[in-house]
């Protein structure tokens, strides 16, 4: 007699596999398979751990790199323009080394943004629990892992115990139906989803992205989708692992090899949600008719297609949302009822854990090839990892960016967040089109207005000096 097996989602399976103890009332002690430290939250957690004379329980499951405050200008060193930032760099390096944690320092060819290098090195694998002291840790759920960001105290908790206390989130499936047209990318899809359901649309849920659009995306596209799960309010974003995932991970430095790979593969193939599995909520988005998206306000939910006009807050029934929209319009100097297309930009940024992978740089380079950016647009490209940078240089993409008038940088988080820390920033009041994930007030510098878009839209807008529809712009060239 065969046992009755409950149909489970991908998330349920990973959750069940990591329960160390049931602590009651929905709380569980969960094993953490991989923990990646950066120099900001990692410096704090390691300092506190050292102060209390605690030890790292599983240094072999723990990794570290520098990405947040490190400069990205060529010839950089271990100093930063961020006030107080040098302390984070020096404390982190000083403290991580004695704990025998694998550490990819500034000169290591494996250095890069945590969420870019974790899958690139095969550190984040299907079925794993993965944490890092950064909110965009949800990115690597794209390999079929349960990955989420934590604060310094929870990071210290995981360093000492290799566990975290978690309440089980509800499960949501986002059905991304249809295939996005040319010029429309995973970035546009996730922005449109957040626009449709709101920045708290995923609050309380572990979100699985499913549907035809997801299957057509490369790992880079899937990582972009999951990257912004946190901007959707989700505890985690994930994509069921498939052959795209496996061929991406095979042969990576920390991926299992030989028989271990074959064993892992057999297990990973059992992870996708069972056909009968029930999600607490199913929602959907039609992708085939989607236009490239650009944000107009100060929350990722403030987003429209390039074929739409900025909404009038007067039409929003919720008074708190309306007030927030009015504030955002005032901050951005944006008129309701008008399109974003045609709006002049003075900055363009391609980079960040959202869109700095080789596929992103290729998409931007395709637009930039043989073109020049507008002389009034400060244009910067920051590859997401040293490996991405080297790959791009091997393909000659750096020449395309440089010839077009883009700066070509070393890898790191850079102007996605440095402007908010008092470090390198765009000029006050400038309007920047960016491939990043947060258009918050002052995120890219004091009173900088950020408009989020795909790398291709950023590249095309940099050339035009104004926000454009990359689909028609490309045809007009």
């Amino acid at each position: 007699m065969s046992p009755i097996v409950r149909s489970r989602t991908l998330f349920d399976k990973i959750w069940d596999n990591h329960i160390v103890a049931d602590l009651g009332d929905g709380a569980f002690l969960m094993h953490i398979d991989r923990h990646f430290l950066n120099e900001v939250s990692g410096a704090v957690s390691l300092k506190e751990l050292d102060r209390r004379e605690r030890r790292v329980r599983n240094p072999e499951l723990t990794f570290g790199t520098v990405d947040h405050v490190l400069e990205t200008t060529p010839g950089r060193g271990m100093t930063t323009r961020m006030p107080g930032g040098d302390d984070f760099l020096s404390e982190f390096v000083k403290r991580i080394v004695p704990h025998k944690i694998s550490f990819f320092d500034i000169n290591d060819p494996r250095q890069g943004i945590v969420h870019v290098i974790a899958p690139e090195l095969g550190i984040a694998l299907p079925g794993m629990t993965f944490i890092s002291g950064d909110s965009h840790t949800c990115t690597v759920g794209a390999v079929g892992a349960f990955a989420f960001g934590v604060g310094s105290s929870d990071s210290e908790h995981a360093l000492v115990t290799q566990t975290l206390v978690q309440t089980k989130p509800k499960t949501m499936r986002v059905n991304l139906n249809g295939v996005a047209m040319k010029g429309v990318y995973a970035k546009d899809v996730i922005l449109a989803l957040i626009g449709k359901y709101g920045a708290a649309g995923g609050t309380g849920y572990a979100v699985e992205f499913a549907g035809e659009a997801v299957r057509t995306f490369s790992m880079a596209g899937r990582l972009t989708l999951c990257n912004m799960a946190v901007e959707f309010g989700g505890r985690a974003g994930m994509v069921a692992p498939d052959d795209v995932t496996f061929s991406y991970l095979e042969g990576r430095e920390f991926s299992p090899k030989g028989q271990a790979w074959r064993n892992a593969l057999a297990f990973w193939r059992t992870l996708p949600s069972d056909p009968e599995a029930k999600f607490d909520l199913d929602i959907s988005l039609e992708c085939a008719s989607l236009a490239p998206q650009v944000t107009w306000g100060t929350s990722p939910e403030h987003v429209i297609g390039v074929d739409e006009v900025v909404p009038d807050p007067a039409r929003t029934m919720n008074v708190v949302s309306r007030a927030s929209q009015e504030r955002a319009l005032a901050y951005g100097g944006i008129q309701p009822g008008k399109p974003l297309v045609g709006l002049e930009v003075t900055g363009a940024f391609i980079g960040s854990c959202t869109n700095s992978r080789i596929d992103d740089l290729r998409a931007a380079a395709e637009v930039l090839r043989g073109q020049k950016v507008s002389s009034s647009v400060l244009s910067i490209c920051v590859p997401g990892s040293t490996a991405v940078k080297r790959q791009a240089e091997m393909e000659g993409l750096d020449r395309i960016f440089l010839d077009a008038g883009f700066q070509w940088r070393e890898s790191g988080c850079s102007l996605c967040m440095s402007g908010a820390t008092g470090g390198e920033s765009f000029a006050a009041n400038s309007r920047v089109i960016a491939s990043t994930n947060r258009n918050f007030e002052d995120r890219q510098g004091p009173h900088v207005r950020s408009h989020l878009a795909s790398p291709a839209t950023v590249a095309a807008s940099a050339i035009a000096g104004r926000i454009v529809d990359v689909r028609t712009f490309a045809r007009a060239q």
Binding site: F88, G151, V165, A200, S321, S324
Partner: protein, 203 residues
Amino acid sequence: MIPFVTVEGIAAPLLQANIDTDQITPGHTGMKVQKSGFAAGLFFNWRYLADGSANPSFVLNQPAYRGACFVVAGANFGCGSSREFAVWALRDFGIRAVLAPSFGAIFTANCYTNGLLPVTLPEPDIAAIAAAITPENPKLSVSLQDSVVVSPDARVYPFRVPALQRERLLEGLDPIDHTRKRESLIAAFQEKDAALHPWVYWR
């Protein structure tokens, strides 16, 4: 961690949606490699004008709300960056609880590890509480013991906090010490899991 049992004090209404941790603690306000001393940076860009003077229109600068120990906010409070500095800044400033319709998930976790109480209430309740707060009568009572908020107009709003977090907050327990008591369970889990999924452990 200071235990949270019942706290009575001034509540500042800050009814905006999506107040992110960049706004709670702008990164330029002196992030340091430490876990306290961040009160001065709280809501810095909103609290101060360009010339460095206090912005009189910001609620925490208004005389009636000086010394506030509660913030009543819009949905998705604490979304964005995982920076724990946001929780430390609120705590260091004297805020003991934030009331909102929803919170960023990482912010919520950071609250629990630092003794700051996130109180989730339905949007109409938050609106009613905010409306009941006046400069003349801005005082609330938040009891974790009884899991209720008592608004200035004496209406009572029950809320829920998961049992484990509630116990830790009530007693001010250190979560790491608490978990270390379960070391034998952790070791047993790893031994069993390593047999099933050896590649997780590099064997």
